[in-house]
Amino acid sequence: MRSLRAGKLTYVVLALFTAGSLFPLVWTAIAASRTNTRLAQTPPPFWFGGNLGRNLQMAWTDANMGTALLNTVIVAGTVAAGTVAFSTLAGFAFATLRFRGRRLLMSLVVGTMLIPPQLSVVPLYMLIAQLSWTDRLQAVILPTLVSAFGVFFMRQYLAQALPVELVEAARTDGASSLRVVWHVVFPAARPAMAVLGMLTFVMAWNDFFWPIVALTQSGSPTVQVALTGLGRGYIPDQSVIMAGALLGTLPLLLVFLVFGRQIVGGIMQGAVKG
């Protein structure tokens, strides 16, 4: 391995980058703990004030953040679980099983990754309007429940993590396909399933374009849609807006704090093979 040892300058550069990455987040918390009046003064505040509780409470009640958070947990959780389950099944089939049309179907999966989402947003809206799904959570869950990237990711992982002999041995013992999936594939795929689940959860939590189109009347908003309402100035209080932004970001930051290394590993792994 050629990696050069880092000098002092390297750490200075990295510290600056880290500060740049984290500063807007820290400052969100600082602004959320101040008053609107204080934010309209120079110099801006650099340390926490005593208003965090009040602002969080106002964001919670006025922007309906409680409902929005619950909705987002439901959406992101379902989408992540569905994507992981369907991707593992399809990835297993493409990586290990032999069947007619396998190559053609796999290239179709990859091909769908190239289609820009805007291209289908108008008819998708017409479709869910027809089904009377506007403002209901299934409108944002069902269209994102499968992911071509997920299928691709799981296929790449299972092709090397799941020995064909293992599947064949289970077959020889008379195990049905479902038993093979349950007792052989799922255990072998667990690390990749965890990574894909977290990546999908983050993406679904932060999804913006489609939720804002599909949940227009904000009967059951996701966090992002609720934040848009705050930003549009229904509540002209900057410190409350920042408290809302903090509420919408904090849960994901916690996920990140706990699973950050795995998420980093997943992105790097997906990158090399992609």
Binding site: M1, R2, S3, L4, R5, A6, L14, F17, G20, S21, L22, P24, L25, W27, P43, P44, L89, A90, L97, T112, I115, Q118, L119, S120, V122, Y125, M126, L127, Q130, L142, V146, A148, V151, R171, T172, G174, S176, S177, V202, N206, F208, F209, V213, Q224, T228, G231, R232, I241, M242, G248, T249, L252, F256, G260, R261, I263, V264, I267, M268, Q269
Partner: protein
Amino acid sequence: MSPSAAGSRQPAAEGGGRGQVWRSRRYRWDLRWSPYAFVAPFFLFFAAFGLFPLLYTGWAALHQVELTDPSAMTWVGLKNFTRLWEDEFFWNALRNTVTIGLLSTVPQLAVALGLAHVLNYRLRGSAFFRVAVLTPYATSVAAATLVFVLLFGRDYGMVNWALSAVGFDAVDWQNGTFASQLAVSTIVIWRWTGYNALIYLAAMQAVPGELYESAALDGASRWQQFRHVTVPALRPTIFFTCVVSTIGATQLFGEPLLFNGGAGATGGSDHQFQTLGLYLYEQGWVNLHLGRASAIAWAMFLILLLIAGAARLLRGRGDAR
């Protein structure tokens, strides 16, 4: 392994040939059809929510459709497209998309490459730094944009305060054309640089060490090694990130929508940072013209195809060299 061989190994515990025949038939069925069952969910969902809408967009673009009654469609032929061609806001949005795209993508990828290089050193706490630079990726467009709106505030924002502290004039980040586009680009750069850096880092770690050793033997400095070993080895990855970032840039939507404060989807008082994605939303969901929104979607798709074609040509030339 053949299914019948597996079937014959089954102990005939339940006795009787019938059970066994039934079982082995079921077994063959399972072997034959379960692969299709495993890939079916993806294709079913894709057909319903991906393929059907995709095809239908082209159809809707040839109609007048209003959001108030999406099922009532009037055939208008190519009118939506000709109208778009004469629409100064469409060209304005296209120009803005290109400028903001360049302003955000070029610095973002250049910085990411440098950052990856630094992260590739043998570091104490490398896991910490990797997670730290990726943190903005976990922040939503909405939350990030709201924070940056405040940081870029004209009168009390921290950016202008810092500028005045070093002797510059305050900048009107929301109303200046270039200034607002730069501010919107900053949000994109902040959210995506760390992500791209990790992708580059992964590719760097796959570069064989001997390449560097022989370069060092030839007396190449670190900078020369970076330029003549790392960057060429990373070319496919750099190409990949360029494609992904370009696609992302053409779809830019959340940042310009929310950078506008209370003023809706116009992208600033003078449309100075309205992107194509935002214009599509404005036509469809503010002005309620779904047919025109479909035409914009198709125009965006054609532009992407043009870019992809150009990139292919460029890449072909580069490989031939």
